[in-house]
Amino acid sequence: MSENVELRRAHIIANHILRSPPPSSNPSLTPEVCFQYSPPELNESYGFEVKEMRKLLDGHNLEERDWLYGLMMQSNLFNPKQRGGQIFVSPDYNQTMEQQRQISMKRILYLLEKGVFQGWLTETGPEAELKKFALYEVCGIYDYSLSAKLGVHFLLWGNAVKFFGTKRHHEKWLKYTEDYVVNGCFAMTELGHGTNVRGIETVTTYDPTTEEFVINTPCESAQKYWIGEAANHANHAIVISQLSMNGTNQGIHVFIAQIRDHDGNTCPNVRIADCGHKIGLNGVDNGRIWFDNLRIPRENLLNSVADVLADGKYVSSIKDPDQRFGAFLAPLTSGRVTIASSAIYSAKLGLAVAIRYSLSRRAFSVAANGPEVLLLDYPSHQRRLLPLLAKTYAMSFAVNDLKMIYVKRTPETNKAIHVVSSGFKAVLTWHNMRTLQECREAVGGQGLKTENRVGHLKGEYDVQTTFEGDNNVLMQLVSKALFAEYVSCKKRNKPFKGLGLEHMNSPRPVLPTQLTSSTLRCSQFQKSVFCLRERDLLERFTSEVAELQGRGESREFLFLLNHQLSEDLSKAFTEKAILQTVLDAEAKLPPGSVKDVLGLVRSMYALISLEEDPSLLRYGHLSRDNVGDVRKEVSKLCGELRPHALALVASFGIPDAFLSPIAFNWVEANAWSSL
């Protein structure tokens, strides 16, 4: 028997060296050497209705999503390729940066012609916004450059006009924007100031004699940087600048400036340069802009919050410059919402590919001469992928919930949206990066090929961790907001309301000392641990800060000093908020297989979060025995989720053509005859 194996190995090695087929004189060897692709569907059955699960995950506008997937598949602009008997659509990333930028623009114009962007700015209300989110998400599944370019034009430029502007701006720009008569960009970030928007150095003054604003880039660090669409395609820009009126700085204001004429030539008094090749998103033309006494009409100040009258009088409905600044940044939350949701779709893509591959690829035998084992039948492989799958599910519900709060926003919910979107954006984009790395490793060398997507996506999505707010800064923002909420409630002696802190009004939960399997899977227990952790960290954080504040230190300084507690707290807050959204979704479901599987997924999410967080052990909420039990339960849950793996990724609703060759018949896709 073992001789047989050795002989086979010898043949394989000889084959490598000689590049000749193994001798056919021994026919019994041939079938063992040849690996036959067997589609995972042949051996795996669906234990629940995949369509129902997809409805929960996508949440809304399934028909519109499918329509857009179809639009992309039916056009050669989307680079369809036949591999292993199937069509795949994915950009050709081997094109030069310039080619990638041009084709991104062509794709946008094709989708424009098909009516995809109809109503993206001119229609209002939750339904229109959800439809826009859905279509935007689908664009990102095809290519993040495509959605980033759309994001710049519609969500940054378009929303800035919509939210900062008034009627005169809306009438002039929104329809033109929707029809791409104007192509907008959003010039906020500078070389010297990114997430710290307040510090930007671009200066605008007012000239009452001509009734014009004059924009200037006073120094190199004030050059606008990373401005998407600025390098090639944009002809108009939102310019975020300090407004200096008669020597008084009125803080950040928002202006519209034309930067190119209709022939695409750069306008006088504007200089534009390219940001160059990037580690990803090369389909987006990021550029740099300098302004040299650029004059724009007075009407180009977006004046919903503050205005300058013809005679140069400055008027504002908000007196406090700090509050004014807050009002300016409000529209950026929509960017965070879409970033968080596209991060989750990227993680879904990675997992769908890696899990499908792990259900058809085998490696090593457990017993000598036994059949090779399917990757996903290794407990270690399950442990690598299935907890990430469960987290992706949980975060899917979280981001759906966030979208719902966002589209139904009121002035009262703005603060909660700001805090929750900050936490979700950071945690979900980090999760995506981690998931993609694990998926890339889990598919082995195949992950290196661009066509297989999982590895390549890392470069494409990496930017999400820092744009529209650096993740670490956003997380600090969360704990600062919680601190403020805590202090204000205690000071006024009022119960907690909002941000999910209501549990702080009840007595501190007591956890059982012995954790059985059924306790660990009980949603009430899971919620208690998450609440306890949040409560404890919030109390610790506030008391640390308060104590030192009493000794005369500034609050800002103390936040910096206590960054470790701050990180733990914001993570605890965000993870609890995510868990709550899964519990809410689960509670709405009728009894049945979908609910049962979702229960397993939720338990996995809760327990893996506990397993990965040392703060529970550090602060003594769980004992060493407890964490051991949690760990064992995670392993058990892996085994229980394994039979559902295929159905769980099928429920993502991402069409086959948007996955990659290794997700399907990768033997045929790589066959000599397919060359």
Binding site: P39, E41, L42, E49, E63, E64, D66, W67, Y69, G70, L71, M73, Q74, S75, G85, Q86, E113, K114, G115, P655, D656, A657, N665
Partner: protein, 378 residues
């Protein structure tokens, strides 16, 4: 037995020639024929001596569709479940053909409609001739393009599939070849010689069959007024998200440049059942993203809802107007497109609840999961 004479079998060495033999009914597929075909195809797959299956029709049709009147009778008598059995077997046959491990050559020398397309297009080779007339006329009958049409129509170039599926437009052999519904075009005068040559094939390797077919291939010209030349207009209009938008896009085109073809197309859409149009469009759109098995399972749900008639009885009405009374004046309900709401469309895609022992179409796993390449030239 009737089914024996309705499907003729010729054994020519390793080739089996099956002939649909109900020429008076234009070879409309009845329950017996479907069962017989299914039985034969499954047996040939297991039989190593069979390498190739040829399917053709007796008389001037290959197959003009499914035998619908008995199904409508069942529905009228409140026995739609009998109709469901008919469609279940038919779709199972379509699935077996789509995933068949041996090449199937269908000789489409005449009318190919509805169910006729279902027993041919899924196979590896489809031979069109100068006599071929192809159509999926279901929306005019109160049904929708089924038999896996949501799979193969959605894979045609651009939005040609939506056009063919929604309007019931007729295609000739040259058009079928151009869009990929046919893989070869052979003059009918060469068919006997071709058949004789095919019978010499001693292997199931499709490249051998291909070589033989290539030798007989004729390159037809598309007629000047072919809809295939209007692919740009079709793409512009039929890519729209809803049926209403498709019609208004066509009307816009018509005001800019009125011509017979656009007017005929608009007229066809306006004559068809509104509920049929809406579920057909959704079906093709979903089909584009699904495998052939998933398509057939979904279509089975849809056809059961159509027969059950809770939302619309257009199938019975369409058959009355077109096949029975032949007044060609069906009274559709809902009458207008806007009365067919999204949530009503949704229901056609759900399982048939509150129906005893109703089950989704069950397709057994097959090794050759990859359906044959529709429009492979693209």
């Amino acid at each position: 037995m009737a089914s024996q004479s309705q499907v003729l079998v010729e054994v020519k060495s390793s080739v089996r020639i099956l002939t649909l033999n109900r020429p008076k009914q234009l070879n409309a597929l009845c329950f017996n024929m479907i069962s017989r075909l299914l039985q034969l195809f499954l047996a040939y797959e297991k039989d190593p001596s069979v390498k190739l299956v040829i399917l053709k029709g007796q008389g001037r049709a290959f197959c003009a569709g499914g035998d619908v009147p008995p199904v409508v009778n069942n529905i009228v008598q409140g026995k739609w479940r009998l109709g469901a059995d008919f469609f279940r077997d038919q779709y199972t046959l379509n699935y077996v053909m789509a995933t068949y491990s041996k090449p199937q050559v269908s000789i489409l020398n005449g009318i190919v409609m509805g169910a006729g397309a279902g027993v041919s297009i899924h196979g590896r080779f489809r031979i069109a001739t100068e006599n071929t007339v192809f159509a999926m006329p279901e929306t005019a009958l109160g049904l929708f393009p089924d038999v896996g049409a949501s799979y193969f129509l959605s894979r045609l170039p651009g939005y040609f599939g939506e056009y063919v599926g929604l309007t019931g437009a007729r295609l000739d052999g040259a058009e079928m070849l151009a869009c990929g519904l046919a893989t070869h075009f052979v003059l009918s005068s060469s068919l006997d010689a071709l058949e004789a040559d095919l019978c010499k094939v001693g292997t199931s390797d499709p490249s051998f069959v291909s070589t033989i077919l290539d030798a007989y291939t004729h390159h037809p010209y598309l007629k000047q007024k072919s809809a295939y030349y209007r692919l740009d207009v079709i793409d512009r209009c039929f890519s729209r998200r809803t049926v209403e938008e498709i019609i208004s896009a066509l009307e816009r085109e018509a005001t800019q440049e009125p011509d017979d073809w656009i007017l005929t197309t608009i007229r066809a859409l306006k004559k068809s059942s509104p509920s049929s149009l809406k579920i057909s469009l959704r079906s093709i759109r979903e089909g584009r993203l699904q495998g052939v098995g998933q398509c057939l399972i979904r279509e089975y749900r849809m056809v059961c809802h159509v027969m059950k008639g809770d939302l619309s009885k257009d199938l019975v009405e369409g058959c009355r107007a077109i096949l029975i009374d032949k007044d060609r004046n069906p009274k559709w309900k809902p009458k207008r497109l806007e009365d067919m709401k999204d949530n009503m469309v949704d229901q056609y895609f759900e399982r048939v609840e509150e129906e005893e022992r109703w089950e989704d179409l069950k397709l057994s796993p097959r090794n050759n999961l990859r359906a044959s390449k529709i429009a492979a030239k693209l």
